[in-house]
Structure formats: structure tokens, C-alpha cells
């Protein structure tokens, strides 16, 4: 249950207690780089991308170097094979553009196979169903902490009946993807956790509203997520339960607003992966493979 997120929000707005934070530069243990697979593909007709890189030292402020020369294929349960070829201008970026109606399909299982450096990695996924977005709405509210007026967007959709659907709700403000850790919005059925009986209903309020940009001004006050003329686009991506768990872990590990929220923070731990080396004694990989069906809707706000 992501009560934690609500608590984090709570302590952010309260801000009553004084604490003190400073950025430090601790020295970290050295480690060998590990293969990173970023394979989140969809049923959309657009070009699909799988990015293969290596881990970097934590404080290295450089783009990760791509791993070139890998053989990357996605195999549909029915036997179809889709070959991802490396983009000649972008090392490590492997791409495939569906030809005509040859997109990935809901209800199919997929396997990812990667051959690189003499090792074979594989991963499994399944494309789950996704509900349509009925509508988007905007509502005016007051920022609890500051009393400032704010406008927020909200999407409306209903989880289909049947326990076990999982989603990643991704949003774009004026075409810019909202990718901050505090903006990760995942749902299990219509709720936020596995085990909560929220099947087959409208997504609960925290999910519906977590599509807004979390931007703050110099005084750490929330900027109204929507202003006159702003557009918002929402995409619901179906994810596997394993991917939901992964994203939940990513949220826990990366969404660190600091301050008193640290009282509720859990220890640093590695997030899970579904990429395995076919040789159990081979080198490990991190990252995730998921095949998503996507539904989308957008709206512009005018006063």
C-alpha cells in the first residue's frame, strides 16, 4: 500500500518541524559495470526501442555508454519473431518498427532475447488489457501548505472486472513526459497495492490525480500543475505484476523528498529485475522487460 506516498505528501506540506539538509560527497565502493536493459515496449504502431547500456559509478554525471553489437529479438508466443536492429546513430539503441498491423497484441506472451559479449539474456512478459480513458477533467483547489490557488488535472477510467490488472499511468504536460520519481503513478486494479480489494471500479483518487507535474519554486512551494493553455496527455500502460512490483520498488528507492519523510524511508536496496542470464554462472544484468497495451487521452485547459 502506498500510504507512504500520502505520508510523504503530508510531511512535505506540513513543513513545520525544522530539519537541516546538506548535499555531501561521500566516497563510494568501486564496482564493475553491469549490463542494463531498458525494454519497455508497447502495442503502438510507432517505432519500439530497447536500450542496452552499462551501470555507471553513482556520481558519474555522464550519459551511460551504449552496448553495441548485441542481437536483440522479441518472440511472440505464437512464434513470430521481431528483430530489433541497432540505430546506427545511437549506439545501444535497438529499434523495431511494426509493419502494418504487425503490432504486439493484448493477451500474448512475449520473450526477449539478447546476445551480447558471448552471453545470452532472456526475459518474459505478457501483454495485459488496458481500459479506455473516459475523460480528463480539471479542478481548482487550494494548496494546503501555502493557501495558493492551484489547478489540477484528473483522468477518469474504470478498471475492468477481474483481479490482477496492473498499470503504469504515464503523463505528459505540454508534450514533455513527467518522469520525476515523485510522478511515478502505478495502479493495481483500481487501487495502489496488491492485496487491496479495488477490482473493477473507477481508479481511486490518488491514482487519478497523480498525473500532475510535481514542480516547485525556489522556496519549495508547489507550482500550480496546470495553468491556462497547458495541455495534459495521459497514457495507461498495462504492466505485468512483476513490472508493477518493480515500479513500486523504483518509486520507493528513488522518491526521496527528504526532511521528515526520511523517518518513513526504507533502507536502500536493489530493485528487482526480470532479465536473467541463461548461464546461471554468467554475469548479471539489471533492468526490465515489459510489453504494454496503451490507451491514451489528452486535453487542453482554457479558463
Amino acid at each position: 500500500m502506498k500510504i507512504r506516498n500520502q505520508l510523504l505528501a503530508f510531511f512535505l506540506v506540513s513543513g513545520i518541524l525544522v530539519s537541516c539538509e546538506e548535499v555531501i560527497n561521500p566516497s563510494l565502493q568501486q564496482a564493475n559495470p553491469v549490463l542494463v536493459v531498458d525494454a519497455w515496449i508497447t502495442n503502438q504502431p510507432a517505432t519500439q526501442q530497447i536500450i542496452i547500456t552499462r551501470t555507471q559509478p553513482y556520481f558519474e554525471a555522464m550519459l551511460p555508454s551504449g552496448v553495441s553489437g548485441a542481437v536483440v529479438t522479441v518472440v511472440e508466443n505464437g512464434g513470430k519473431t521481431f528483430v530489433f536492429t541497432e540505430n546506427p546513430t545511437k549506439p545501444g539503441y535497438y529499434e523495431w518498427t511494426p509493419a502494418g498491423a504487425d503490432t504486439l497484441k493484448v493477451g500474448e506472451a512475449y520473450a526477449l532475447l539478447i546476445n551480447t559479449g558471448g552471453e545470452t539474456y532472456q526475459a518474459q512478459s505478457f501483454m495485459g488489457r488496458v481500459p479506455v480513458i473516459d475523460s480528463l477533467s480539471f479542478d481548482k483547489d487550494t494548496n494546503i501548505a501555502t493557501g495558493d490557488p492551484i489547478t489540477r488535472a484528473e483522468f477518469w477510467a474504470t478498471d475492468p472486472v477481474g483481479v490482477g490488472d496492473a498499470y503504469w499511468i504515464r503523463s505528459f504536460k505540454n508534450g514533455v513526459p513527467l518522469l520525476k520519481p515523485s510522478e511515478i503513478n502505478i495502479a493495481f486494479d483500481a487501487g495502489v497495492s496488491i492485496g487491496g480489494p479495488t477490482d473493477g471500479v473507477i481508479f481511486i483518487a490518488p491514482v487519478r490525480r497523480r498525473i500532475n507535474a510535481d514542480d516547485r519554486d525556489a522556496n519549495d512551494r508547489l507550482i500550480s500543475p496546470i495553468k491556462n493553455g497547458d495541455s495534459i496527455q495521459v497514457q495507461i500502460h498495462s504492466v505485468t505484476v512483476a513490472a508493477f512490483t518493480f515500479l513500486n520498488e523504483v518509486s520507493i528507492q528513488t522518491n526521496r523528498p527528504g526532511g521528515f519523510a526520511e523517518l518513513f524511508a526504507t533502507p536502500l536496496a536493489n530493485v528487482s529485475t526480470n532479465i536473467t542470464n541463461t548461464n546461471p554462472n554468467g554475469t548479471k544484468a539489471v533492468g526490465f522487460f515489459n510489453t504494454a497495451a496503451v490507451s491514451a487521452a489528452g486535453k487542453r485547459y482554457t479558463e
Binding site: I3, C20, V23, Q56, A190, T245, N248, N270
Partner: protein, 792 residues
């Protein structure tokens, strides 16, 4: 079986008394207010032996016919020496007069005359309320738990952490008793203050080892806090006005020398003071805590006395009129002391205790989320003490606790659609029987031995899940569930808990003490956050979670450095192994999760250390230095590659010094200094990106692989006593004092945690995401404060 053993022992002791013997017994009280005094030494000069008063001020010694000199001594009080002729059973209650004010000095160990060296107890610390009141504290407020943290073997992970750690045990492994009622969360305001109102506390004792058989239920320690009974001689009002909260206590006789009461209350007002500056507080927001403690007692006759005590406390965090979160404990204790005959003392206790919290989010009834969680229990506890003779004191009794766990009563409402995510309640019964004997074998050897048998049952109604095996460290799959009917046993456990300790006198000024005890814990505090916090839930042992076990060995050397017993020194070693320790899978979901147990891991633990303690007990300058070197580790499949790792609260070095100095008649100064090794934490080695999010990664899969910077802090406080005499030369009836305190004198930014995150700014596409490490100090500055305290 245990019950027949008890009867056998009792009968045996009757049979064994062939010689003509008589008993002297009674209750020792403070002459100024009628409070029963705990731990008063009653020493019989002729046999060079004695006893101490129990928790109710009662003592009993059985001796052969004869004339004896009885010495009643208690620190801070004028001793009383009586010559008695024992020709029949003698009832001898005594009132001790406090020493004159200027002679009162701060002493941790109450038993000055029969000091640590001669006492059978080891691994035990007593805290006098006077000491607590003199210790410089955050915002100048005397606080029991924060004073406790100045003792050897006691630590905390830092400001903002609820509870405390004893000898490398977790916060949930301490049993905290307030007048025998368990307190499930001992903290107000995230550990800045404890729930105990010092105005209502009489006596505090912490057992870290050599735990007597009458206590059980937690692995690491027992903190036994006893409340004042209330002045039975005259009305008295004490109070204080501080920068964070104010206190007021009223006590007095209901029937003089027969019945008395005390009511003490506190309320914080930081939110009231901050309201003009914080908008959230103007819109119905709140941040406060309050508590009320009350106790009354009635002395029916010499053989019967009843006590009723209660506590209610609450912390409230609200960020508008309808949204927020609150938590608190409530306890009620009813006790009956009964003297069957001159030597058989019975205390029967009935307890109700509850801890609960509630959260509510959402602006209106159509869209909201609410969640309540609680643990409550009823206890029935008859405890007998049989004072066999001057050498043996037999304790036996039972302890029956009925628990109700409410993990979550939770409801979400979306556009009027109600979704109920309530989780089944859990019902448990913990029953223990115990027998223990304190025996003075000879002048040089004393023993304390006992046995406790505890049983725990988990019964229906409820749905219970079973989980399949999987790779250690990941969520276990649910493979079955079963519905149990009301009263049907789901799981049950039983354990013997042997306890043993000895003292060997080594000359007149030194002794060697050792102990072994096994402790069993059936309740588990589920917490995987940096520090324990009020949302942590308690979970009982079940078909999936086994009870925790601990075996602890201690060995100590105690010495009075001078003949006048002014200086005391001790060193104690402890070694504890634990089984069925809980840890968590990565990404564990601990709140409102009906499959919670699928996210729990089980392993073993060990902790060991050496505690040094030196104390100067009296004089204008007094105080103590304590130093602990220790280690606390866990080994859990699925964490840290299955290898041993340090617990979050492991501290290699832990040094504390407390000093109290009387400058003159009115001014006194006290200071404490704390140095602890930085606690362990986990740092990443590497980073990688998924879908535009930067993720930290530890290539070695380590847990707690580094240590945070060391923690150290100096606090100073000055106390100014109000004038004792009026201008016209008459003595003032009222007394008062000011406390000026400085917390964290040199404003060190002691780290609470270090966390790793990506930059808060949006990174444009095609740019690397900046990463950073941030060190958080909960209190990063000096905190001055002043409080005014009065008594009339």
C-alpha cells in the same frame, strides 16, 4: 506441571521451618508525602543480612526469636535504626524523613548502602526521578527515555526515532510497562519526548539482563515504570511552563493516610505558537500532543490495599480540519495488594492497554481514505511473594494476556463508491506461569533462579494464508488459505524460559555476578523504516511467523572504589543469540497488506559487548561515565547475500558522560555528553536508468555496508532554585525553579540519514541525470530553552 511445582515449593518451605521463628514486616513510606518507597534497604545487623522493599514498599523478614537491630536506609532519606525484640510476629511500618534539601544529591542508584556491589541484581539500572529532572534535555523538558539513553547499553538511532535500543536489540524488543500496563509506543512527537510524565513517575527500573522469572514477553529488556501514588498527607500542585509544553499535576489525600490521588497532565503548544507563521495551522491544521496520567489508591486495612491507575495520551497531526493523522496509548491498571499472612504477599493486577492510530485523507465524504489500526490487550496477573526466611524469597504467579490486533480498518471512497480494504483482526492468548527464588546461600554467595513457561495461541475467526517457498529475498507466493471459525486454534507455541543469576562477593568491596536467561517474544514489531515510527504495526506469531527466542549470558565485575562507597565502578560483558528474527524483502509492503507475511524473512541474530560504568554518587560534583563497545548483527537468507550484516542500530562505540554540579545554594549546573559511532547504512555503488528514472544500485547486494559520520553532542543546563525565604525572613511555602538549557551546544549537524536521489530538476531529453547524496540532520542547530517549574 509448573503449578504443582509451585505448591511443592510452598509446602516444602512450611515443613522446613522447625526452629521457632517470627516475622517482621511492614511498609516503608516517605514521611513527607506518604509515598511507598521501593527498594529501601532493611538490614539486620546481627545476621549481616537483609532485604529490600518491593514495588509496593513492603518488606518481610523471618528470623529466629531474639533481639535485633534493624537499619532502614534509603538514599536521600534520614536512616532509621530500630531495636526490636522478636517474640512474636511483628508489624513494623516505618516512615523515612527526607534529608534536608541542601543535602539531597542526585543519585542514579537508589540503594546507596546496599549498593550494586552487594546487590544480586545485575544488568539493571535504576533512574531516580531527581536525576531525570536534572539532566539537560531537549527544550529543557525532563524526559525519562532520553535520560535512560545516558545509561550503558542503551542507545537510539537518533533524534526523530521512536523508542530506544538495548544491547543491540530492536525497539520492538523492549517491554515497556507503565504501572504494569504494556505501552506499545513510548514516544510523543517521533521520539522527541516520551509518554511518561515525569511529575507522575516514582520509580524506573531497566532490566537488560538477568531478568527475573516474573517478567517475560520481550527479548532485549524490560522497562518497569512505576507511578506515584499521590501525596497522602497534604495537597500539592506541581507544574511547569516550558517552550514546548506545560505540565500540571495535582495530588493529595482523599482520606488522610488512607487514600490519595494524583492527576497529571501535559499539553504541547508548539502549533499554537507557530500559527501566525504557518498557513496550514490557520486552516485547521494541528501539531500537538497531550497526555493525562492519574492514579488513586485506598488503604483498606493493613492486609489489603487497592490501586487504580490510568494513562491516556495522544499525538495529533492535522493538516486541515478533516485530514490528518493521530496516535496514542491508553492504559488502565487495577491492583490489589493482599497480605495472606506475615510472609505471603499477593498482588493481583488487571490491565487494559491499547495503542492505536488513525489516518484520514480526502476533502469530502465522496472522496476520502481512512485507516485505523490498533493493538489492545487485557491482562490478568496474580503474583505471589513468599518470604520464606531471611535467606529465601520465593516469587510465583501467572500472567494471562488476551490480545486483539486490528491491522487495518480501512476504507477508500471514490466518487461515493466505497471500497473496504479492512484486514481480518487477529486474536491471541499468551499465558505464562513462573516460579523464582532469590536465595542467599552464604554471606559470599547469592543466587536467583527461576523458570517461566509461556504459551501462545492464535485463534479464529479469521482467514489464514499459507505461502510457498521461493528464492530467498523475494515475495513468497500464496499457495493456500483457510477460514477458521471463532475460537478455533490456528497456531500455538509453548516455551520454557529458564532464568539464573549469581553473585559472589569478592572481599568487602567487590563482587562478581553472572547470569543466563532465555526470553521468548510472541509479538513482532513490523518496521523496516530508517527508524521506528508511530505507524509501525505489531503482528503476532502465527502459522507463518515463529516466536522470537533469545539466550543471553552476562558476566560482570562490580567494585566500590572507596570505603565510603562514593565511587563505584562496574564492567559487564553480555552475549546474546537470537532466533526467528524478522527482516523484510526489498520493496516489502507492510501496511494494509493481508499477505504481509509473504514479505517477511526470518533469520538469526547475535549481539555482544562490554559495558563500563563509573559513578561518583554524592558530593557537590557527581555524575557518571558509561562506555559500551558492542556489536549487533543479523543473518537472514535473502539479505546481504545471506551473510552476517550489522543491524541499523549497531553502534561500535557508545560513550556517555553526565555531570551535576552545585555552584551554590541556588544555582546548579548539569551537562551531558554523548558520543556514538555512526550507525550503519547502505550506499549504492552504481546507477542506471530505466525509462528516464535514475535508479541507485549496489553491485555487491550489501545491506548496511557503510557507517554514517559519528554522532556527538553536548547539552548543558542551569537550574536556579527560587528563594527559600521571603523578604520578611519567613520561610516560603511554595518552591520553584528555573531551568535554562542548551541542547546541542556546539550545533553539530548530527546525521539522521544519508539518502541518494536524482536532482529535483527536470532533465531535458538527451542529458545525463544529475545524482546527489543528501545528509539529513533532524536537529542541526543549538536549541536554547527555558522553563519555569513550581510546587505549592
Amino acid at each position: 506441571m509448573s503449578r504443582s511445582l509451585i505448591f511443592l515449593l510452598v509446602i516444602c518451605s512450611f515443613v522446613c521451618q522447625a526452629q521457632e521463628k517470627y516475622t517482621i514486616n511492614g511498609t516503608i513510606r516517605d514521611a513527607s508525602n506518604g509515598e511507598a518507597l521501593i527498594g529501601v534497604t532493611v538490614y539486620i545487623k546481627e545476621i549481616k543480612n537483609g532485604t529490600t522493599t518491593n514495588e509496593y514498599g513492603f518488606y518481610s523478614i523471618t528470623l529466629p526469636k531474639g533481639t535485633y537491630t534493624v537499619d532502614y536506609t534509603y538514599v536521600g532519606f534520614q536512616p532509621v535504626v530500630l531495636t526490636v525484640t522478636l517474640e512474636k510476629n511483628l508489624q513494623q511500618s516505618v516512615e523515612l524523613k527526607p534529608e534536608a534539601e541542601q543535602l539531597q544529591e542526585v543519585v542514579v542508584q537508589a540503594e546507596l548502602e546496599q549498593a550494586n556491589v552487594e546487590n544480586l541484581e545485575m544488568s539493571t539500572n535504576k533512574l531516580e526521578i531527581k536525576t531525570i529532572q536534572r539532566t539537560p534535555m531537549l527544550f529543557g523538558e525532563a524526559d525519562l527515555l532520553r535520560s535512560l539513553q545516558l545509561l550503558p547499553g542503551v542507545s537510539t538511532v537518533g533524534e526523530g526515532a521512536s523508542g530506544f535500543n538495548v544491547r543491540g536489540g530492536s525497539v520492538g524488543q523492549n517491554l515497556i510497562l507503565l504501572d504494569e500496563a504494556p505501552v506499545y509506543n513510548s514516544s510523543h512527537l517521533f521520539g522527541f519526548f516520551s509518554v511518561f510524565n515525569p511529575d507522575a513517575v516514582k520509580d524506573t527500573k531497566l532490566f537488560k539482563g538477568a531478568i527475573p522469572a516474573r517478567y517475560g514477553g520481550r527479548l532485549a529488556s524490560i522497562l518497569d515504570v512505576r507511578m506515584k501514588e499521590g501525596n497522602s498527607k497534604k495537597y500539592e500542585v506541581t507544574g511547569g511552563i516550558g517552550s514546548v509544553f506545560s505540565r500540571l499535576a495535582v495530588e493529595g489525600p482523599i482520606i488522610k493516610d488512607k487514600a490519595s490521588f494524583i492527576v497529571a497532565a501535559r499539553r504541547s503548544y508548539i502549533d499554537v505558537l507557530a500559527r501566525p507563521f504557518v498557513p496550514i495551522l490557520q486552516n485547521g491544521g494541528a501539531l500537538n500532543f497531550y497526555d493525562v496520567t492519574l492514579k488513586t489508591n485506598y488503604n483498606i486495612n493493613r492486609r489489603n490495599r487497592v490501586y487504580l491507575s490510568a494513562y491516556f495520551g495522544r499525538d495529533v497531526f492535522r493538516f486541515d480540519k478533516t485530514q490528518g493523522f493521530n496516535w496514542g496509548n491508553s492504559t488502565a491498571t487495577l491492583r490489589w495488594n493482599h497480605l495472606f499472612n506475615e510472609r505471603l504477599f499477593l498482588n493481583v493486577t488487571g490491565v487494559y492497554s491499547n495503542y492505536d492510530y488513525a489516518l484520514q485523507f480526502g476533502k469530502d465524504d465522496l472522496n476520502r481514505f481512512s485507516w485505523n489500526s490498533s493493538i489492545s490487550n487485557f491482562i490478568f496477573r496474580p503474583q505471589f511473594t513468599y518470604f520464606i526466611d531471611s535467606r529465601n524469597e520465593l516469587n510465583f504467579g501467572a500472567d494471562v494476556t488476551y490480545y486483539t490486533f486490528v491491522p487495518a480498518v480501512a476504507q477508500g471512497v471514490t466518487n461515493g463508491d466505497v471500497v473496504d480494504i479492512t484486514i481480518d483482526r487477529k486474536y491471541n492468548l499468551e499465558t505464562s506461569l513462573y516460579v523464582g527464588n532469590s536465595q542467599k546461600v552464604s554471606e559470599g554467595l547469592s543466587l536467583d533462579y527461576g523458570l517461566r513457561y509461556s504459551m501462545f495461541q492464535y485463534f479464529g475467526p479469521g482467514t489464514v494464508y499459507t505461502y510457498g517457498d521461493t528464492t530467498a529475498g523475494i515475495r513468497k507466493p500464496v499457495i493456500g488459505s483457510r477460514q477458521y471459525g471463532k475460537g478455533e486454534t490456528i497456531a500455538s507455541y509453548g516455551n520454557f524460559e529458564p532464568r539464573f543469576s549469581f553473585r559472589i562477593q569478592a572481599g568487602s568491596r567487590a563482587s562478581i555476578k553472572g547470569s543466563y536467561n532465555r526470553m521468548v517474544q510472541y509479538l513482532h514489531l513490523i518496521s523496516n523504516t530508517t527508524a521506528s515510527n508511530p505507524l509501525d504495526v505489531w503482528n503476532p506469531s502465527s502459522n507463518n511467523i515463529k516466536p522470537q527466542l533469545a539466550d543471553q549470558f552476562t558476566l560482570g565485575y562490580f567494585r566500590d572504589l572507596t570505603a565510603d562507597k562514593q565511587y563505584e565502578f562496574s564492567v559487564e560483558a553480555y552475549y546474546r543469540t537470537t532466533q526467528n528474527q524478522i527482516d523484510y524483502i526489498d520493496g516489502a509492503d507492510l501496511l494494509i497488506n493481508q499477505y504481509l507475511e509473504a514479505d517477511l524473512l526470518s533469520g538469526v541474530g547475535r549481539s555482544y559487548g562490554l559495558e563500563f560504568y563509573a559513578q561518583k554518587k554524592t558530593g557537590r560534583l557527581n555524575g557518571w561515565v558509561s562506555y559500551t563497545i558492542g556489536r549487533s548483527e543479523l543473518k537472514v537468507d535473502g539479505v546481504n547475500r545471506g551473510e552476517w550484516y550489522e543491524t541499523r542500530f549497531n553502534q561500535l562505540h557508545n560513550l556517555k558522560a553526565a555531570a551535576f554540579y552545585d555552584l551554590n545554594q541556588r544555582w546548579s549546573v548539569s551537562a551531558n555528553f554523548i558520543f556514538t559511532s555512526g550507525t550503519p547504512t547502505t550506499f549504492p555503488t552504481s546507477r542506471f536508468v530505466q525509462q528516464g528514472v535514475l535508479i541507485p544500485y549496489n553491485a555487491y547486494e550489501s545491506r548496511n555496508n557503510v557507517h554514517m559520520p559519528d554522532y556527538h553532542r553536548l547539552d548543558i543546563s542551569f537550574r536556579l532554585e527560587g528563594k527559600k525565604v521571603k523578604k520578611n525572613g519567613k520561610e516560603r511555602k511554595n518552591s520553584d525553579y528555573w531551568v535554562f538549557s542548551l541542547y546541542n551546544v556546539y550545533a553539530r549537524k548530527n546525521p539522521f540519514s544519508i539518502y541518494f536521489s536524482q536532482s529535483d530538476q527536470r532533465t531535458p531529453a538527451g542529458q545525463p541525470i544529475p545524482s546527489q547524496a543528501t545528509q539529513l540532520s533532524i536537529i542541526g542547530t543549538i536549541i536554547p530553552s527555558v522553563s519555569y517549574n513550581f510546587k505549592f
